[in-house]
Amino acid sequence: MNNPKPGYYKLLRYKLFFAVFLASLIPLTVIYFMSSSYYNKAIRSKIESVLINIAENRKDAIELFLKEKTEQLSVIGNMYTYDYLSKQKNLERIFESLQKEGKDYVDISIVDQHGSAVNYVGPYSLSGMNYTNEKWFKEAMVRGIYKSDVFLGFRRFPHFIIAVKKPSDGKTFIIRSTINTDALKSLMRIAEVEAPVEAFILNEDGIYQIPPSEGGDIAQKSFLTPEQPYADTKITEVRDNNNNSFYCAESWITNSDWVVVVLQAMKNNIEPLTGAMKIGKLLFLSGLLCIFLISFVVSTWFTNKLYAADMHRATLNNQLIQAEKMAAIGRLAAGIAHEINNPAAIINNESGWMNDLIKETTEKGTKIDYDEFRKSIQQIKKQIDRCKSITSRLLGFSRRVGEGIEPVHINQLIDEAIFFLEKEAKHENILFSKKYQQDLPLWHGNASQIEQVFLNIITNAMDAIKGKGEIILSTGELSGGVEIRIKDTGAGMPAEYLPRIFEPFFSTKLHKGGTGLGLSICYDIVKGFGGKISVESEVDKGSTFIIYLPDNHGDRHSGLQV
């Protein structure tokens, strides 16, 4: 039997390895990435909810502060008339009472509808100032309430303006107050105490109103440019100028162009996540290593087992082929014994005849008959040559038991196979007809195995013929290979047998001592050479076995004498 090509087991091992490896790796990878993703989302969602909470808390606090200041100024406007407030003493008293509640107010001034500061209480002397062209004045006159951005002013401390427009006895005036940002700053610092975050306020242009505790100054541009105001708090991922990543919660203060921003550096948040991810990665890599090792061990073990089983099967097959060959030889032995016995009997007879002649000459004193003597010697020589021819063919037959690949003359091989069967065929009135292609290309394969195929099919054909018959042996070149047809005029086979005749242990001759392995072995041998074997048969008309043997290295030889 032909063993698998070299490298077959290596390739099989690789295939097995990758199959086992991938089959185990895919679920592991899916689990790893899914769990990472879920964990990531869970952590992220927790961070987001914390940041949103802080941002909204701070926004509420700032809103409350601004509302309180605006309300206080509004209440002053509602309680006192323009005339009352225009008097310095009155305004000083009101300012003092405001200061009692906290040091948020820096100053307070009353501005008439034309933009002139009619009264002022505070650290500067701003009485008489004209604000007609100031932005805050114009906006306060139009919108009723105005809140400025934070600025540093002359004394370089941060503050902002709240102006409230009030009508009084047919006159309109504005109460304007400068408010320092310490309170706002404190409110924002609370957020930084609650969590490792940076909390600050930006205006719509991204200018710091309340800068974070570290990095950033009033009126400086932040790396962030807030989006247009929206109602809900929004979470985004941002990067600063140093490419540090942050989670960013932005919450717009109602009716204002200020936005509360809470930033949390990703590296702070990610610590538990990275820790878990590290463990996950470690587990994944350990799993990967385990799978690799298991795949390697399993594929090697399995391939080795398969190799051993294949080798065992190949040995058994070879033994089976050898056994079948021995059975075929056993059958041939009868013919061969007869073939040897006949010349031996003739030699025996001729030598006896020569002895008779000598005895007669001695006894009767007559002259020896040399012609008879010569005839006998020639006959003996002829019979010895006959024996030599038989033994040399038999030796050739028995020598070819190896598994080597060699160039084979198919026509010659068929002749050798039928030589041993010819005598028996003659006695059974079976005629061998040969229709060989004379310039048949050499076929490269194992002569012994293919000869066994021929012997098996030809002896089957002989068994199928009852009485007189013919076995036609033809060869021809086909698709770069050789086609051999063995046709008999025997009993043929019913159609239902045909699909089964190459199955092991299927035999129509079991009662005659057939093993049912002959054709199955033929099938294996031919398949082993990449060939095809098929049969056509009709009851009472005979069967034709068609064998195709492919050959890629065939070259033409000069033809056979048949």
């Binding site: 032995a333 007869h338 016995n341 006949n342 009997a345 003739i346 007879n349 005849w353 002829k382």
Partner: protein, 145 residues
């Protein structure tokens, strides 16, 4: 000594030809042929005492020929020549009325001994038949019509 009529049948012409010469040298009256068909023609024409037949022959094998000979000349004793592989055929032949069988290559003295033994038996059979016939013809005369 009686001259024994022997018929040799073997498909190997070289074998029968020389064997016939050797037997003739020893006083036998030997004819030979190489096929069963030919042998039957001779049997039909001439009287033989002993036939020496090869078992394995094309067209008509020795066993078949034995049967046919016995039908034409039942008293002819048949000695079968067999190869090693066809001993079974020799035994089968004896069951069908062969006198004996010999394995090839045959020793001439052994063959001659077998032929003589066969001839003796044939002679006895002939005599028995003659006696029986004589008895039959004698009792026939005694019988009142």
């Amino acid at each position: 000594m009686d001259s024994i009529n022997v018929l040799l049948v073997d498909d190997e012409i070289e074998f029968v030809e020389t064997l016939a010469k050797r037997l003739n040298k020893r006083g036998f009256n030997t004819l030979y042929t190489t096929s069963g068909k030919d042998a039957m023609e001779k049997i039909k024409k001439e009287q033989f005492d002993v036939a020496v037949i090869d078992v394995r022959m094309p067209e008509m094998d020795g066993i078949t020929l034995l049967g046919e000979i016995k039908q034409v000349q039942p008293l002819v004793e048949v000695i079968l020549l067999t190869g090693y592989a066809s001993i079974q055929s020799g035994i089968e032949g004896m069951k069908k009325g062969a006198f004996d069988y010999l394995m090839k290559p045959t020793d001439i003295d052994e063959l001659i001994k077998k032929i003589r033994d066969a001839y003796e038996r044939k002679k006895q059979q002939d005599e028995k038949i003659l006696k029986a016939e004589a008895k039959n013809s004698h009792s026939g005369r005694e019988q009142p019509y």
